[in-house]
Amino acid sequence: MGSLEKSVHSTGHHGPATGITRWLYTTNHKDIGTLYLFFSLTMFFIGGCMALTIRAELFQPGLQLVRPEFFNQMTTSHGLIMVFGAVMPAFVGLANWLIPMMIGAPDMALPRMNNWSFWILPFAFTMMLSTLLMEGGGPNFGWTFYAPLSTTYAPPSVTFFIFAVHMMGISSIMGAINVIATILNMRTPGMKLMDMPLFVWTWLITAFLLIAVMPVLAGVVTMMLMDIHFGTSFFDAAGGGDPVLFQHVFWFFGHPEVYIMILPAFGVVSEIIPTFARKRLFGYTSMVYATASIAILSFIVWAHHMFAVGMPLAGELFFMFTTMLIAVPTGVKVFNWVATMYRGSMTFETPMLFALAFVVLFTIGGFSGLMLAIAPADFQYHDTYFVVAHFHYVLVPGSIFALMAATYFWLPKWTGHMYNESMAKLHFWLSFIGVNITFFPMHFLGLAGMPRRIPDYALQFADFNMVATFGAFLFGFSQLVFVYNIISCIRSGKQATDRVWEGSHGLEWTLPSPPPYHSFTEPPVFTHPYKENDRGV
């Protein structure tokens, strides 16, 4: 009998340790999931404050609030914090909470590593944020940290930035290894790979993407470190290097990275829509294959971020067509979601509202992505607000809305209390309106030629910028409603049933709400949630 089983048995009948050590030493997947989710919520607000600083400065043309140097640090830090601090850890938190409960496992496969991969993060981000207070300021070269801006012309604090990226990379890789080991080795007897819930499937594929590309990110920042401190010339033309090489290596990481941020969101939406449409998911198999093809294609499209660097025609065409190819599996997914809802008995609880907004607004972001994929047109759109509008449409009403949908969907399971539905609906509508007011005008700004990453702009852009700033503050402050609702749901609320939702399916809903500290110590009997009958309930 192994030590894991023994420890589960000896502590199975009492709850967690008390005090701060519960959180510091915990190896429990639910505790670590909670830590990840609170961490990313904190980062979401820090990154959000930076976004509001940016939007406040852009409220009117001219320089009002901040100096251009600080503005650059804000755009850079906002991007880095939101990508690496908010979206990615939030999905790892969901994975921690949900994957063991969905596949009938007692915990993650490598619990000690799990603890370590979380506790690295606060140190990494404290270090990254501390650079803002250092002499010369924090990173100011854009979240893509193109060389030579991030090497030759970087502020001295760039070394701390590099170390922080290394640490968060290590954290992500450990998290990904844990997810893969859990999914491949710990499924309850009888659950085949093609029986897994889609959230588990999308996370399995995401974890492989993380293992493939996070080391490349570590490699590229290591090259920067060597260029800055050890006299190498990877990206320095004077020594025979090439700055364009940086962009290639960065985007070889960067494009799969954008799918790392959206694939788990696809999984979340694929869990929520069937629940509230009270039908099984349409085209489960095609969903799995579509996710896998998106992941594979993500490795051969990276240079569509670099159409303007001076590529030969053959390269422009290759990356243009492979990029457009990604629209096919993505289209399959959107079709399946819509087909799942077709003739379903739909109700519109808050998770469903967020999931529906996800489908509509993510598709808008996908279409503007297709426009950007057209190489000749991209020469016009490149580095304008059109790009900003595009990636915010796929990230905010995409990833972030999926995260909010997931929070409302599983919060009653996690806490044992129902959240306040009318407050949640208020949060949804404020967010939905706020997001669109913020980001839709940016399409027009970009098409009219307003460049991104600037603190000041020409007068003809003033009106749309003012509208966008109003929307940003509406969206930003409505998140306080979200936090209030979460906290009051944790503290009190109507007792949630085990199933929580009428149409819920999957193993996590067979556990009590809230689930016991150690769940599924005995593997549960598995019955297929999708195949058992047509309505999936």
Partner: protein, 192 residues
């Protein structure tokens, strides 16, 4: 349960090996990029340098405009400009020109010029017999020099190319230098 730990451990080792492999792959992209550029000639880097190894026929029916550009890398105080902004040559005809360099600072400096050809398809057809960019160029404080360039446009140059731009970026590679200190004459870019 032991069996599960065994399987977790072996998967952990495989995935860690994958991580290390991908870290290595990141660095492998550097030589791969150079090889790719060499094979395809895509980034405008010159390949044909040094003495010619074969005879070329002068094609007096075609005229190729060769334009010269000189830019300073930021923080490089030298002045560099081509003697002629543009010359017209026949394919296969050897031509000579020079770039004028001036070190306006109060200290001895060393520079390296990095060439680039546009359009990049023309790069394989530009033979540089002799070029100041082959070597590091030292200039004493206040020294001026004409730096030679001998080149020939290949007679195989595709017909649709009629203009070639050869651009040099000048980098300060003076050992242990702090480039801003001791500038006697402020570099005026308009002069270049």
């Amino acid at each position: 349960m032991n069996q599960l730990q065994q399987r977790n451990r072996s998967l952990l080792i495989k995935l860690l090996a994958g991580t290390v492999l991908m870290f290595g792959f990141g660095f492998l992209l550097v030589p791969l990029y150079d090889v790719f550029c060499d094979v395809t000639g895509l980034n405008g880097k010159l390949q044909n340098t040094g003495a010619l190894t074969q005879e070329y026929k002068i094609d007096s029916k075609r005229q190729i405009r060769v334009q010269f550009l000189a830019v300073n890398n930021e923080a490089m105080p030298w002045r560099l400009r081509p003697e002629q902004a543009e010359i017209s040559v026949h394919p296969g005809q050897m031509a000579q020109t020079a770039f004028l360099a001036f070190n306006p600072t109060e200290r001895n400096m060393v520079a390296q010029a990095i060439p680039s050809v546009a359009p990049s398809e023309a790069a394989p057809y530009l033979h540089k017999v002799n070029c100041f960019c082959f070597e590091q160029q030292p200039l004493a404080a206040g020294e001026k020099r004409a730096m030679p360039l001998v080149f020939m446009v290949d007679d195989q140059l595709p017909n649709y190319i009629s203009t070639i731009t050869l651009s040099y970026t000048l980098f300060d590679i003076t050992p242990e230098s702090s480039p801003v200190s001791g500038i006697a004459v402020a570099p005026a870019r308009s002069v270049l």
